[in-house]
């Protein structure tokens, strides 16, 4: 084992770009009108016509630097490119262009070295063979990291104790509920004691109690030793706010902002966030942003009740009067008006122009 001193980041990417060929665009039926070719329902029987394949851009020039010992969050809606970035860093996918390093090793040129230092846990993961027990499964995965069996089992027992999973140690995987299976896979990521851990939406679909346990464990784990780094992707704002030292907001494959949650919130400056609950009327995002002093607006309407909820970022309090005037002109009734503390959600709305819902979808106009 030789040691080389050099200046590196735990994770660094440089103008990372990744595109995918969108196969659904390759074939279009002759005679299909715009928009009806996708399902082919109205397509004629003519010969298939080859259309030029469209490239889907998953990452578009991502440059990031994550320091050692950091708990770094990637915040963005579904399809923003978070998982693609993690897959590239985990040596599972090559970038189309650009470069990435983990602990100073180029992920494309030195994957062997990178693999020794990393592990990954994805939310909603269902890995594991049904006929093995939880403890056996975790032992099996530990063997892929060359761990001595005794040491591996010691770590597994310790982690199961901390996560509150010890009672299930000898349960067969096939008997585990989805949440339990996710807990097991979460432990799997830590058994090899990686220097860099990728957590891809680790609390996806988990109940509140389990999510809280997992978040607390991750925070303690990363702070326990200065050389541990976590890259966490999430679309839960509160999770990113609560856990991360720094957060990068990513959308459509681009990093739009990167700083600590506190700084990001401060970046809104004198801007304030306003929430309106409305009944009836036709309030539009376009109409709201046209008002002088309103920077961003997002409106969600419940069709059944006809009620709407608008979130706005306003630059000055003077915008409130014209805002209420516009709402009245639209025939809407104001049920509630709240001026609130700026949250990461407001930062996201301000930067991306859309609101992120609890399922990870971004709603609203650009």
């Amino acid at each position: 084992m030789s040691t080389t001193d050099t200046t590196v980041w735990a994770i660094r990417t440089e103008a990372l770009r990744r595109t995918f060929r969108d196969k659904s665009q390759v074939k279009k039926k002759k005679g299909a009108k715009n928009g009806d070719g996708a399902n082919g329902a109205n397509a004629g029987n003519g010969a298939a016509e080859k259309a030029k394949p469209q490239d889907f851009v998953a990452l578009d020039g991502v440059s990031l630097e994550v320091g050692e010992g950091e708990l770094f969050g990637l915040l963005g809606p579904n399809g923003a490119g978070k998982t693609t970035l993690i897959k590239i860093l985990a040596t599972l996918m090559y970038p189309t262009s650009g470069r990435a390093w983990v602990c100073g090793y180029d992920v494309q040129e030195r994957p062997g070295q990178v693999k020794k230092l990393i592990n990954m846990v994805s939310g909603g993961e269902h890995s594991g063979y049904g006929s093995l027990t939880v403890r056996e499964t975790l032992w099996m995965f530990s063997q892929f990291y060359g761990l001595d069996s005794r040491e591996a089992l010691r770590r597994i027992d310790e982690l199961m104790e901390i996560i509150g999973f010890k009672d299930q140690a000898n349960t067969k995987i096939s008997k585990l509920s989805t949440g339990m299976r996710q807990k097991m896979n979460f432990i799997r990521g830590f058994v090899s004691d990686p220097r860099v851990l990728f957590l891809d939406e680790p609390t996806l679909g988990l109940d509140v109690g389990v999510s809280r346990t997992i978040r607390a464990f991750v925070r303690d784990w990363v702070k326990a030793r200065p050389d541990r780094t976590v890259l966490l992707t999430t679309h839960y704002m509160a999770e990113a706010d609560e856990m991360c030292d720094r957060v990068a907001i990513i959308d459509s494959g681009r990093v739009l902002a990167c700083d600590s949650p506190a700084n990001l919130k401060r970046s809104l400056g004198r801007d304030s966030a306003i929430e309106l609950e409305l009944a009836g009327g036709q309030v539009s995002e376009g109409g709201l942003t046209a008002i002088r002093g309103v920077r961003r607006a997002s409106v969600t309407t419940e069709p059944a009740s006809g009620k709407s909820e608008a979130t706005l970022i306003i630059e000055e309090d003077g915008a409130v009067q014209p805002l209420l005037g516009y709402v009245a002109d639209c025939g809407a009734q104001v049920l509630a008006f709240r001026k609130k503390e700026v949250t990461l959600e407001d930062v996201f709305l301000s930067i991306v122009g859309r609101k992120l819902d609890e399922n990870g979808n971004a709603n609203g106009n650009h």
Binding site: M1, S2, T3, T4, D5, T6, T7, V8, W9, A10, R18, F20, G67, E68, T84, K87, A90, T91, L92, M93, Y94, C103, G104, Y105, G112, Q113, K115, K116, I118, N119, M120, S122, E125, H126, S127, Y129, S131, L132, E136, W139, M140, F141, S142, Q143, F144, Y145, G146, L147, K172, R188, D227
Partner: protein, 283 residues
């Protein structure tokens, strides 16, 4: 910028070998332990081939075939079990591993993917041997098949070489299936009965005629079974070619398939990473 230490960890050959062997054993364990855990499947896996043995033996008997043909059927059932294991639990396995989300975990681990394939092979051989041994023993007892083995070591040696070549082929196919996704299942189906036919599972392969039999020799099972038929029943008249040539053929096929598996895996892993298909499910 902050300063940190880059740990250049270079494993010795012995360390690398030990780590990869550990990984192989980890993957094999699933199959080895599975034999004990799923006794109902064990029953089915033994009973099913017994039915097919009975059907083919009784067919031969109804046609007044020589009694040694009963033995050909038993031998055929033995090798059929391994071929099915190679097709479904080796070749198509990487495809299923990807669907289950395991493949990305294997590929991300600091080991050679070949270690996983070796583990799957070892586990598969163990699993199949337990089932096939039970089937063959019961079949031989029920139908009173007489084996006349003059050289048990040669029989074991050829059997071992056949398994190496077969599982080497399975490892190569697993790499190919990595890229060809869902069609893998159809390919496995395509290679089932036609390979039984070409390799002469229930009859001496020379009955297919020289050119067909010679072409079929590219399938390791053909060479292995032809050699075993000659040695197990001590009957050179049914053989397609001398056992020595078949041993040579098996050694060459074994080496080619193992090297082929390594090369194919490296190339196709690279291709899959470039195309982003290594972790793509339901394609």
């Amino acid at each position: 910028m902050r300063t940190e230490t880059r740990m250049e960890t270079t494993d010795t050959v012995a360390q690398a070998l030990r780590n990869n062997l550990r990984a192989s054993w980890g993957r094999a364990y699933v199959r080895v332990i599975g034999v004990n855990r799923e006794l109902s499947w064990l029953f089915l896996d033994i009973v099913m081939p017994l039915f097919s043995i009975a059907a083919y033996v009784l067919l031969y008997r109804s046609m007044n075939a020589p009694r040694e043909y009963d033995g050909f059927v038993i031998l055929g059932a033995l090798m059929t079990a391994y071929w099915l294991n190679v097709l479904w639990a080796m070749a198509a396995q990487f495809y299923w591993e990807r669907e289950m989300g395991h493949l990305e975990l294997y590929m991300m681990a600091p080991i050679s993917p070949m270690a996983i394939l070796f583990g799957m092979s070892f586990g598969g051989i163990f699993q199949t041997t337990v089932r096939a041994a039970a089937t063959v023993t019961m079949g031989a007892l029920i139908f009173g098949v007489h084996f006349s083995i003059a050289n048990p070591l040669a029989v074991l040696g050829i059997f071992f070489l056949t398994l190496v070549a077969l599982y080497g082929l399975g490892m190569t196919a697993a790499s190919l299936y990595l890229v060809y996704g869902r069609d893998a299942q159809n390919l496995s189906n395509l290679l089932q009965e036609p390979v039984f036919l070409l390799s002469g599972v229930n009859f001496p392969v020379k009955a297919l005629g020289f050119w067909t039999a010679a072409t079929a020799c590219f399938i390791p099972m053909t060479l292995g079974m032809d050699a075993l038929r000659q040695l197990v029943f001590d009957d050179k008249t049914t053989g397609f070619m001398p056992v020595g040539w078949e041993v040579l053929g098996l050694v060459v096929t074994g080496a080619v398939t193992l090297i082929g598996a390594y090369k194919a895996l490296k190339y196709l892993e690279d291709l899959a990473k470039r195309q982003g298909r290594l972790t793509l499910k339901w394609q």
